[in-house]
Amino acid sequence: MDSLSGSGNGPGDRAPLTVDLSADGTTAVVALTGELDISNVSVLTAKLEEALQASPEVLVFDMSKLRFLDSSGIGTILRVSTRVGAVRLRRPSDIVGQVIRHMGLAEVLSIEA
């Protein structure tokens, strides 16, 4: 497991985010810890490129430790979903689940417990 963090300095401080990659057969698991927003979405994009190099069939975002997600994070997830067979969101918190529901994506992004 390796991880990459974005942490704050300079104008427009970055929110804290850690992205950990692991694999489970042909499923790549991307564990997100902290907050994902416009200030650090590039951290996730970089890690996803790495995960996609193994050409996984399924991409699971483990969101159990993700406190905040806004539309820019959703945009990144939607974009990557066109490059793999399936994308699943694992245990999103209530806050994150509401963003997905309000954006009409509850049926587009499958949510697993």
Partner: protein, 515 residues
């Protein structure tokens, strides 16, 4: 003086002179670098204007194709773009065929070109068809204009903007480019015959200046700018002389170390200030661009009060993606649209502008909200791949007191009545750009007398640590209670819900029945 002292003094003076030259060279390098960056920013600002010129024309042509050249529909669409308060002095629809282009309709002033068959053939009949904006500099007339044409094989829409006779224009004092002298030319050269506008009395631009060529449609503009003062902060201009003064002092005291340290710190401070100024300027540019992308004025719809407000987000240097618009497709009906392009930066702003203008064209054609969303989704998937946008589209029937709403991933609108406030239960479909198999659905609601409809973007309610539902509840409660006018209500909501420096930009659009 001993030989050693003389040598030290000579050495000291030589080093002082070098320090002064070094500081001067650094000052010039910094000034030139900053000037180049600022002029490129200004160039981006001009380039970002292309959609606001091209899209209305392209949309009007598409409308003509769809309505077989309907004059009434063209007039209705073009009315908001041409005329005394519009962005163009005139906008006209022409039909193309084997002969000369034929003028079908014109809105605003009469097109200057109309009486001149040779020019009509050249700039309208022979304009590139189906994708590129044709730029026609018509400077030989008593009223100089720039003409813009967008054409397909069957129709062309031609618009004119009038240039001031003396070609003098001023940059607004509040603009991030207020500290510059500029000259804008059409084409690639700085020939006075091609001058569009300048704030200088004498041309060509002299002193420290930088010029760039900005492609625009099938032509280009040449922009030359020169700073009025120092770009990197006042101190820099004096720093060569300060170095000289200090240097001599230090030479006399024969302390070279002190002199070097002072020079280094002064340079570091000046560079830090330059970076902060540049950052502030970039933020101003972003806000200016954003404001330019939003409608300048909202239409008057009898029987209603309409108001909107946009609040830019944190001191970021990128343009936000929020937009809103109100269009009147036919008398007594108002189409409210609000949206949020995911992502920031110039590209997102271009997508936003494209969505806004295209939505207006489909609305002008009479398309209902769910069809408009469908078409916008096709547009974004074919022309802006990888971009997503949430959009809410509400068609308001003023007399009938009905609202028909379709939502692509956007938060539901709030309705305020004398009995309280509630959210309209609108089923949100996925955002534009995410393929929707079954299309967008529409929901119709009956609205009580004197009600207010509020649409907003998530920046108004989304906060760290609280959920969207909680934010929506906060908005709902804040909206209850009397307000003298819609603008007062919206002002109050912004004050109550947005404090300090919010991360995200927020837009809020409202329509209130006045009876």
């Amino acid at each position: 003086m001993s030989l050693l002292a003389a040598v030290v003094t000579a050495l000291g003076l030589a080093i002082t002179a070098l320090a002064a030259l070094g500081a001067n060279a650094l000052y010039n390098r910094t000034e030139n670098r900053l000037l180049e960056l600022r002029v490129k920013d200004a160039g981006s600002a001009v380039t970002s204007e292309l959609p606001s010129v091209q899209t209305p024309l392209a949309s009007a042509v598409a409308l003509a194709e769809a309505t077989e050249g309907s004059v009434a529909k063209f007039k209705s669409f073009a009315g908001s773009y041409a005329g005394p308060s519009g962005e163009f002095a005139s906008m006209s629809l022409w039909s193309l065929g084997p002969g000369s282009p034929a003028l079908l309709s014109s809105v605003g002033a009469a097109p200057l070109l109309a009486g001149m068959p040779t020019l009509v053939r050249r700039y309208i009949g022979q304009a590139p068809q189906g994708g590129t904006l044709n730029v026609a500099p018509l400077f030989g007339f008593s009223t100089p204009v720039i003409g813009y044409t967008f054409a397909t094989a069957t129709y062309a829409v031609y618009a004119e903007t009038i240039l001031p006779d003396d070609r003098r224009g001023e940059i607004a004092k509040t603009s991030p480019f207020a500290g510059f002298n500029f000259a804008l030319y059409v084409g690639k050269s700085e020939s006075s015959a091609d001058l569009i506008e300048t704030n200088l009395d004498h041309l060509p631009v002299g002193g420290r200046h930088y010029g760039i060529n900005i492609p625009f449609g099938n032509s280009s503009f040449a922009l030359v700018m020169s700073p009025k003062g120092s770009l990197s902060g006042g101190l820099d201009e004096e720093s060569p002389w300060i170095a000289l003064g200090i240097g001599i002092l230090i030479t006399v005291a024969a302390s070279l170390t002190t002199e070097r340290l002072i020079r280094q710190r002064s340079q570091a401070e000046d560079l830090a200030r330059a970076n902060r100024d540049l950052y502030a300027a970039q933020h101003d540019i972003a806000v200016t661009l954003q404001q330019a992308m939003l409608p300048a004025a909202l239409p008057d719809v009898p029987g209603t009060e309409i108001f909107a407000s946009y609040q830019p987000g944190v001191e970021g240097i990128e343009v936000g993606g929020d937009w809103y618009d109100v269009f009147v497709p036919r008398e007594g009906t108002a189409l409210l649209m609000i949206g949020d392009v995911v992502g920031r930066g110039l590209r997102s702003a271009v997508v936003m502008s494209s969505l806004r203008h295209t939505a207006r064209a489909y609305a002008a054609q009479g398309d209902p909200p769910e069809v408009i969303l469908d078409r916008l989704s096709s547009l974004i998937r074919s022309e802006h791949e990888g971009y997503f946008a949430t959009v809410l589209c509400a068609e308001v029937d003023v007399e009938g007191r009905k609202v028909r709403v379709a939502s692509a991933g956007h938060l539901p609108p709030l309705i305020l009545t004398s009995t309280g406030s509630r959210y309209l239960p609108v089923d949100s479909q996925p955002p534009l750009g995410v393929g929707v198999a079954k299309g967008y659905t529409i929901a119709t609601f009956d609205i009580p007398t004197g009600a207010t409809l509020l649409a907003y973007t998530d920046g108004l309610i989304e906060r760290r640590g609280t959920s969207l539902d909680e934010g929506m509840e906060k908005l709902r409660q804040a909206a209850e209670g009397p307000s003298a006018s819609l603008s007062e209500l919206i002002g109050r909501l912004i004050e109550m819900l947005i404090s300090g420096h919010p991360d995200d930009d927020a837009a809020i659009l409202g329509l209130r029945w006045t009876h």
